[in-house]
C-alpha cells in the first residue's frame, strides 16, 4: 500500500524564502568551519593510504578454515556450491585418507568476478569451513584468472590476523599451513 505523506503547508516565514535561505547558510557554514578548523575530524578517509575500518562481520573475501592438523575443514559436500546464487563456486572431491571422514576437497575455486558476496555459502556450510571474515575488500589483479581464489589462496591466512577467534588460533598458520597440506598429500595445482 502506498503511504501518502501529507506535507505541512509552508507558513509565511518559510514562504519568504530569505529566512530559510539564511538557515541553510548557517548549516553549510557550520560544516565549512568544521572542515577548516577541525580538518582531522572530517569523515573522509584519504583512501589508498588510509584504509577504512572493516569489521569482521563484513562479508569480505572468503577463507577456508583449517583443522588443528592443517587440513581444510571442508568435506566437499557441495552445499555452498548449491547455495551460491551466482554459481561461482567449483568443487572437486576426492576420497579422504582419514577413515572418519568420507571425502576431502581436491579443488575449491571461488570466482570473485562472479561472486555477489551474499554470504549464502557461509550460511550453507555444515562444518563451518567457509568464512568471509578476512576483511579483505580490495580485489585488484592483472588477469581474470587471478581473480579465481583456489584452495591455496583460500587456506593461506595467518592466525595472527584473527586474534579474537579461538578456532583460527588452533590452525598452524602461515608457512606451516603449506607444510601441513604437503604432509596431508594435497599438492595444489594451478
Amino acid at each position: 500500500m502506498a503511504r501518502v505523506i501529507r506535507q505541512r503547508p509552508m507558513n509565511w516565514v518559510e514562504r519568504l524564502y530569505i529566512f530559510e535561505a539564511i538557515r541553510g547558510l548557517w548549516t553549510t557554514l557550520k560544516h565549512a568551519a568544521r572542515g577548516l578548523f577541525r580538518y582531522e575530524e572530517l569523515p573522509t578517509i584519504s583512501y589508498p593510504e588510509g584504509q577504512p575500518e572493516v569489521r569482521s562481520t563484513y562479508r569480505a573475501k572468503h577463507r577456508l578454515m583449517l583443522r588443528p592438523d592443517g587440513t581444510p575443514r571442508c568435506v566437499a559436500c557441495g552445499m555452498c556450491a548449491a547455495a551460491c546464487p551466482a554459481h561461482c563456486i567449483y568443487i572437486e572431491a576426492t576420497a579422504s585418507d582419514d577413515p572418519r571422514i568420507e571425502k576431502k576437497v581436491k579443488r575449491f575455486d571461488i570466482d570473485h568476478l562472479t561472486c555477489v558476496f551474499c554470504g549464502l555459502c557461509v550460511e550453507a556450510c555444515p562444518v563451518d569451513a567457509l568464512r568471509m571474515d578476512t576483511k579483505e575488500i580490495i580485489f585488484e589483479h592483472r588477469t581474470r584468472d587471478e581473480f579465481v581464489a583456489n584452495l591455496k589462496t583460500l587456506t593461506s591466512w595467518d592466525p595472527k590476523d584473527y586474534p579474537d577467534d579461538a578456532q583460527s588460533q588452533k590452525a598452524p598458520g602461515g608457512k606451516l599451513n603449506a607444510e601441513a597440506r604437503k604432509v596431508w598429500g594435497m599438492e595444489v595445482k594451478n
Partner: protein, 451 residues
C-alpha cells in the same frame, strides 16, 4: 613638461606603481579557485582536491593544501587544443572569451585602494589619490565596465552556432539588464546620502559617518542579491544551468577559451566583492578607528597589524600541530611523507610568527613619526603615508575576501532558481524594494537636512 616637473619622482613612482592594482583580480582568481573547491568540499564534509604536489628536495611532496591543483588545471587547459565548431563565426568565436577577461583589467582602476596619501617630500606637500583614476563618476564607470563583460557571453552565444549557447546568452543578456537596474537603484540611496558619484567620496563619507550597511541595510541586501545575480553564479546561474542548457553560453568552448570564461567569472566576483565592500562596508576604512588616529599612532597601528598577522600564523601552526599529532597516531601509510611536508609549513609558520612579533615590537617602540598640519590638512612623512596605505589596502582586501566567501557560500548552499523565478525576483521584488528604499532615503535625508 610642466606636469612632469610639477611632480616629484616619488609621486610619479607611486602613481605608476598603483597600476599594479590592475592585476589584483587576476591574483584573486588564484585565491578564489582553491577557496571555492575546498570550501565546497568542506561544506559537503569532503576534503576537496588536495592530491597534486610539487617535489621539493628535502620536504618531499609539497601539496600546499591543494593550491597546486590550480597550476595543474591551468596547465591542462593551456595545452589542450583550441577548436571552433563547424559553422561558427570564427572571429567572434575566438574574440568572445577575451572580452570578460580584458574588462577585468579596467575595473580596478576606479576602486579606491587606500585613503588619499598626503605627505611631505622635498619641501612640497604631495597628495596621491586612492584609485588609479580618481574619477568624479567612478561608480558609473565601474558599472559600465562590469556590464561590458556581458558582451563576452552574448558574442559567444551568437557566434558558436549552437542552440544551447544561444539560449544561454539570451538568458545572460536578460539577466544582466534586469539586475543592472536593481543594482543601480539599490545603490542610489547611498549615493544620495554621500552626495557624490565618486567612490573616494563615498568611502570617506562612510568613514566619517556610518558604514553603508548600517545606513542602508535594505539596500545592502538588494545590492548583494543583484550583484550575485549579475555575476551569473548560483543560485542565479540559469544562463549555464546544466539540466536545461548543457553549459549555457560556453557550451562549445574548450581549452583555454573556456579557461578565460572561467577566469573572467572569478575576476567578476572579485570586482563585485570589492564594490560591495567599498560601497557598504566602508571600503578601506578601519572599523571604529579614524584614519587620523591611525596616522597619529602609526607605530602602534603597524604593531597591532603585525600582531594580528602573528596571531593568524600561530593559529595556523596550532592547526598544523594538532593535525600532525592525529596523523602520527593514525595508520595512514603515507603519514611520514605528509609529516615531512608539514615540516615546511611549521618552519614557515614559526619564522613568520617570530618576524611579525619582532616587527610589531620594533615599530611600536621605534617608529613614531610626527604629523605636521599644513593649511588644516594633516601631512605625514612618506613612511607614515605608506604605512597607512598598507593598512587600508589590507583592510579592503580582507573585506572583499569575506564577500568572495559569501559568493562561494551562497553558491554551495542554495539551489538554482527557475528562470521565471529569477525574473520575478528581479523585476517584481528587488526593484520595488530598491525604489521604495530610494524614496524613503531621499525623504529622510531631506528632512534630516543632509545634502
Amino acid at each position: 613638461m610642466d606636469i612632469i616637473e610639477s611632480k616629484t619622482w616619488v609621486e610619479w613612482l607611486i602613481t605608476i606603481a598603483k597600476f599594479g592594482f590592475c592585476f589584483v583580480p587576476v591574483l584573486y582568481i588564484l585565491l578564489l579557485i582553491p577557496m571555492e573547491r575546498r570550501g565546497a568540499g568542506f561544506m559537503q564534509d569532503r576534503q576537496g582536491p588536495n592530491r597534486s604536489y610539487i617535489k621539493v628536495p628535502y620536504f618531499g611532496k609539497v601539496r600546499l593544501f591543494g593550491y597546486v591543483q590550480n597550476m595543474c588545471d591551468g596547465t591542462k587547459l593551456f595545452f589542450k587544443e583550441m577548436f571552433a565548431p563547424k559553422g561558427a563565426k570564427k572571429f567572434l568565436y575566438y574574440v568572445a572569451p577575451a572580452i570578460p577577461f580584458a574588462i577585468v583589467f579596467l575595473s580596478p582602476c576606479v576602486i579606491p585602494w587606500f585613503g588619499p596619501m598626503v605627505f611631505e617630500w622635498g619641501g612640497k606637500v604631495v597628495r596621491i589619490a586612492g584609485p588609479i583614476v580618481d574619477s568624479e563618476v567612478g561608480i558609473l564607470l565601474l558599472f559600465g565596465f562590469s556590464s561590458l563583460s556581458a558582451y563576452g557571453a552574448v558574442l559567444a552565444g551568437l557566434s558558436s552556432r549552437s542552440k544551447y549557447s544561444y539560449l544561454g546568452s539570451l538568458r545572460t543578456t536578460a539577466m544582466t539588464i534586469s539586475y543592472e537596474v536593481c543594482q543601480g537603484l539599490s545603490m542610489m540611496g547611498l549615493l544620495v546620502l554621500a552626495g557624490s558619484f565618486s567612490l573616494t567620496d563615498i568611502v570617506s563619507w562612510q568613514e566619517h559617518h556610518v558604514w553603508g550597511i548600517v545606513a542602508q541595510p535594505v539596500a545592502f541586501f538588494c545590492f548583494l542579491i543583484a550583484t550575485i545575480a549579475e555575476t551569473g553564479r548560483a543560485p542565479f546561474d540559469v544562463a549555464e544551468g546544466e539540466p536545461e542548457l548543457v553549459a549555457g553560453y560556453h557550451t562549445e568552448y574548450g581549452a583555454m577559451q573556456f579557461g578565460l570564461f572561467y577566469m573572467g567569472e572569478y575576476s567578476h566576483i572579485c570586482i563585485s566583492s570589492l564594490l560591495v565592500a567599498t560601497l557598504f562596508l566602508g571600503g578601506y576604512s578601519v572599523p571604529f578607528v579614524t584614519t587620523e588616529t591611525i596616522q597619529a599612532h602609526m607605530g602602534g597601528s603597524l604593531a597591532i597589524l603585525c600582531w594580528v598577522l602573528a596571531f593568524f600564523a600561530l593559529a595556523f601552526l596550532h592547526m598544523i600541530y594538532r593535525y600532525s599529532r592525529k596523523l602520527r597516531a593514525s595508520a595512514q601509510s603515507n603519514k611520514m611523507e605528509i609529516l615531512q611536508e608539514y615540516k615546511l609549513y611549521k618552519g614557515i609558520g614559526w619564522i613568520a610568527a617570530f618576524v611579525l612579533v619582532c616587527a610589531g615590537i620594533a615599530s611600536w617602540m621605534l617608529y613614531n613619526p610626527q604629523v605636521t598640519v599644513v593649511n588644516g590638512v594633516a601631512v605625514n612623512t612618506l613612511g607614515a603615508a605608506l604605512g597607512t596605505a598598507l593598512i587600508h589596502l589590507l583592510v579592503l582586501l580582507v573585506k572583499s575576501v569575506f564577500f568572495c566567501w559569501v559568493w562561494i557560500w551562497v553558491r554551495w548552499t542554495l539551489p538554482r532558481f527557475r528562470y521565471d523565478h529569477v525574473m520575478h525576483l528581479g523585476w517584481k521584488i528587488i526593484l520595488n524594494i530598491a525604489i521604495l528604499n530610494l524614496v524613503v532615503t531621499a525623504v529622510v535625508a531631506k528632512l534630516m537636512g543632509g545634502n
